[in-house]
Symmetry: C2
Subunit: 219 residues, 2 copies
């Protein structure tokens, strides 16, 4: 209170500008190759100010991961209206997910590639976000199963597995959509709905895929 | 020729033992925490011999990634008989995939988590393996679409997107199956077939999931 000298711009605003610049540079260059000089330059501040506010390259990277993970989860949650049917919720959630990752490709690169590529503490931050999204999708599938009334015994394990599959597919598609010319968020979401919902829908309706009766002899 | 002193065991055999030990220790401890002492001890050799044969911790890790990536791709290919119907090929391929990742959890941890978590050169090795698997699945889906005859215009982008989704789902499920009590390879494969094939099957049969007509207003 009063001890921090007032600048032209409040500290909170400056920090967000530094994080904006850092996400872009980390996303573009990768964590290792990203330089604090370039980040400071893009943010329009001095390098010492970046260190004063964010402490170190590691802490700056962690702050980027936290901010972008929170923004992504909030974007998905904001896209979903829990009073709509389950397939509509999933469609809306997927569209929000692909729109956000498409509009923030550097942020997605930081979360999906950079954070997992540079050591356990960063990876743990992303794992926490992922667990939250998996829990959200698990609940969605469980609600859908209850709605359908026809799969009262869809086991908990099965629901958890389906949620893991769906989240893994979405992650993979987001990376692909961002590096493939001409794939819109809506198209990516539609591809995944075609792939997943038509399958889930059958499952809920008591029409699972039928495995060949004999298990393969596993040697 | 002749310059290398003959040991009780041929070099190639010793190297494989070192790699076996290294995969287990890297998979258990993570790349950073893994110690060359522990790897040498588990392999039953001296630490200098590990350095003599494999050069450095980085090179040892790279050798682990290469060997395990090759083994995984070969296991999947060996499980698939290309003269069978497409859904049977996918089922067999998925069972082979989950059987291999389940029987070699440390190897899967090295490929899926460790290699992506510790820097670009390692991540690039895994990306090459992943690209090979995606290409294999893409071809499988394209063949299935031709077999079905009812989706002659399934666009190339759509097939590529479906393959990305399927591989992402499989990766995610393998990690989940390996950390969840009581999930067998067959169950994991069945979950993914339920999720994916029932959906793909509908798509091939000209019954795509129908999106709500109005695009969401994206702000």
């Amino acid at each position: 209170m009063g001890a921090v000298k007032t600048k032209r711009m409040p500290r909170a605003v400056r920090e967000q500008q530094m994080l904006d610049a850092a996400v872009e540079i980390f996303g573009r260059r990768g964590y290792m190759a990203a330089s604090m000089d370039e980040i400071a330059e893009l943010a329009g501040v001095s390098k010492p100010l970046v260190y004063l506010y964010l402490n170190s390259k590691e802490d700056l990277f962690t702050a980027c991961i936290r901010r972008e993970a929170k923004a992504l989860v909030e974007a998905v949650r904001a896209g979903v209206h829990t009073d709509l049917p389950a397939d509509r919720q999933l469609w809306d959630g997927l569209q929000a997910f692909f729109a956000h990752t498409g509009q923030h490709p550097h942020a997605w690169s930081v979360l999906h590639l950079q954070a997992r590529t540079h050591g356990e503490p960063f990876a743990a931050e992303v794992a926490a976000m992922r667990a939250e999204i998996v829990a959200f999708v698990t609940q969605l599938i469980a609600v859908a199963a209850r709605e359908a009334h026809r799969a009262p015994d869809l086991p908990e394990h099965e629901v958890a597995g389906l949620a893991e599959a769906l989240v893994g597919a979405a992650e993979s598609l987001a990376a692909w959509a961002n590096t493939t010319e001409g794939v819109s968020a809506r198209q990516a979401a539609a591809t995944l709905m075609n792939f997943a919902w038509a399958g889930l829908g059958n499952l809920m309706g008591g029409r699972p895929w039928t495995a060949p009766p004999e298990p393969q002899p596993l040697t």
